[in-house]
């Protein structure tokens, strides 16, 4: 009671400490999101004739959204992004889980060196990683058979882009799962060892269920990351014609706003993407929580 009373009497300090964060959030997160909604409901009305044209911004209703949804390229870009997610997300989750379990296994060797090696790509910015892999794929410079295999081919391109993304994030996710494994109580594991369970059995039946929440979390984060795919295809684009300027949704937002000078359409697709991400985060989070809750019982 007294503590709560004191808190209420206390100085203005807490307000001052929170204020910068709230002001910056208002200015650089909520205001741009609101402005995007506003712009997405507008369009340019061009008037005039012989004496030159002038344009004014007028209300467009949901016109920009219906234009976006009617555009087949919007759905194609969404489809390409989903295809890369379908390849990249399971690959990231499975590899990170496998590496983390191996790092945590009894009598595994070279764990320090390999852990650092697996973490290394995290120090490489996505764009730099894409340029690097671009040269590994490019027929003229490829040490991995780019002159024989067309890594930028119609189908392979999705694996190509997904691979660059997986390479960049698998190390960080491995370390997240590995720290989760290290934090587990040792008693169940030791009991299983005494009962004669093999290393593999312990990994699959003891450790894996225990880190299921962490695995679910990295899976959800990877899916959300896929919605924001931009750096990898953009940086590979100068090296191949297979990637168009609207290849994934966020590239479309960019080219609408900057190449086609259609900020209204760009705002509409940006906001659509934002809504989809929020829905996925909230929905995915709820599903994960429910699954884990059921499993906990």
């Amino acid at each position: 009671m007294t503590i709560a009373g004191r808190k209420k009497r206390s100085s203005k300090l807490p307000v001052l400490l929170v204020a910068p964060a709230l002001v910056l959030l208002a200015l650089f997160t909520f205001a741009p999101a609101g402005y995007a909604v506003y712009l997405s409901l507008m369009k340019l009305h061009i008037t005039g004739g012989l004496l030159g044209t002038s344009s004014t911004q007028v209300f467009a209703g949901l016109g920009n959204y219906t234009d976006t949804f009617k555009d087949p390229e919007f759905w194609h870009s969404l489809g390409r992004m989903l295809l890369i997610a379908v390849i990249g997300v399971p690959a990231t989750v499975i590899l990170a889980t496998l590496f983390a379990l191996c790092l945590d296994a009894n009598a595994a060797r070279l764990t320090t060196v390999t852990r650092l090696a697996i973490f290394l790509p995290y120090a490489v910015p996505g764009v730099i990683a894409s340029i690097l892999w671009g040269f590994l794929y490019l027929p003229a410079t490829s040490p991995i058979g780019g002159s024989v295999i067309n890594y930028f081919g119609n189908r392979l391109i999705f694996f190509t882009v997904a691979n660059v993304a997986v390479w960049g994030v698998v190390g960080f996710n491995t370390v997240v799962l590995y720290t989760a494994l290290r934090a587990l109580p040792r008693d169940v594991r030791q009991a299983a060892e005494i009962d004669g369970a093999s290393e593999l059995q312990i990994a699959l039946h003891v450790k894996l269920p225990q880190i299921a929440p962490a695995i679910a979390m990295i899976a959800l984060f990877s899916v959300i990351g896929a919605l924001q795919l931009f750096n990898e295809p953009t940086a590979l684009k100068p090296l191949t014609n297979a990637i168009t300027s609207t290849w994934v949704p966020l590239m479309r937002v960019y080219s609408d706003a900057f190449v086609n000078n259609n900020i209204y359409g760009g705002a509409a697709s940006a906001f659509t993407l934002l809504v989809m991400t929020v829905a996925l985060t909230v929905g995915g989070g709820a599903v994960v929580t429910r699954l884990l809750g059921r499993q906990g019982k």
Binding site: K8, V18, A21, L24, C102, A123, W167, N231, A267, V278
Partner: protein
């Protein structure tokens, strides 16, 4: 495979006393080790290949075996090539990346630490609403907001400047959330009360108790923010229109774009990639032990 072998020898270990046991300890889990070596090679070899490629001139890059270095090769001429390219702009990009990542990292950590501490340790008018707003903001990915941020800043003529890249990255709702969760557990009310009894001001409590106890989460947030800003591409890509302000990511990307009839500058770009990856890899691997990555999963669970 080795796992099965371990099982079979188990009884012998029991009958044979301590010696086979110590042998068992020395035995390597081959499957796990091989998987780790393959994983490590997958992650390291592309970065090592850039070292090979950096020894080649633009001509030999396309004519020699891609996986073999050219020795003595063009390594030093490539390095001086990228360092003197366009009047040494590569070093300018390096400096810009440091300004963005260190400046933005330090400021955003201070802002997140302060807000997280206040939300964890005080109840004040609007503190609940403030926390709800921050949780809601976690859901809005900054990357998707880059183009709207540009459109808004352009209205006020604030684009194409250092501030236009720094300001939108100063607040990370997730960092605030991590700091709040950590402060709740790490800063005891009793200790704050004790300082109060001694006549310490609220600010003194924050400065000498709060920030010290929160140091592990502050270091983690600083590193996470540093990397997030260092790796950011889309925000500078939309905001900047002056290559003198570019960070490394944007600068090297710009060099990759074919410019009116000029031959591709691939060997220079490769040299630049090399000079971007190596210093940062060394820095990260040496700082690795200060990371508390467990705080991330803990924060999400809490």
């Amino acid at each position: 495979m080795t796992i099965a072998a371990t099982d079979k020898r188990q009884p012998r270990a029991v009958t044979g006393g301590p010696r086979p046991r110590s042998r068992r300890r020395r035995r390597t889990n081959l499957t796990a080790t091989v998987i780790l070596i393959i994983g490590g090679l997958y992650c390291v070899l592309p970065a090592l290949w850039i070292l090979v490629a950096a020894t080649k001139s633009n001509a030999t890059l396309f004519s020699t075996a891609p996986y073999a270095p050219s020795l003595p090769g063009a390594f030093f001429s490539n390095m001086s090539g990228i360092l003197t390219y366009n009047h040494g702009i590569f070093l300018r990009w390096w400096l810009n990346s440091i300004i963005y990542a260190v400046g933005g990292g330090v400021l955003s950590t201070a802002i997140a630490g302060a807000a997280g501490y206040a939300l964890a340790k005080y109840t004040f008018t609007g503190s609940r609403v403030a926390f709800r707003i921050i949780v809601a903001a976690v859901l809005l990915p900054q990357i998707l907001l880059a183009v709207p941020q540009y459109l808004l800043l352009a209205k006020f003529g604030l684009t194409n400047s250092y501030e236009s890249v720094l300001l939108p990255q100063l607040v990370s709702p997730f960092a605030i959330y991590l700091c709040k969760i950590y402060a709740e557990a790490a800063v005891p009310d009793e200790l704050m009360e004790a300082v109060r009894m001694d006549g310490g001001s609220e600010f003194r409590i924050f400065w000498s108790v709060g920030t010290r106890l929160m140091l592990p989460v502050l270091v983690t947030v600083l590193l996470l923010q540093f990397i997030a800003i260092w790796n950011n591409f889309l925000l500078p890509f939309v905001m900047l229109n002056n290559t003198n302000l570019d960070p490394l990511t944007l600068g090297l990307y710009g060099m990759l774009m074919p410019t009116g009839g000029q031959p591709n500058q691939y060997s220079l770009v490769i040299g630049g990639v090399f000079l971007t990856i190596v210093p940062l890899a060394i820095l990260f691997l040496s700082l690795q032990r200060f990371w508390r990555i467990d705080l991330i999963s803990g924060g999400v669970k809490g």
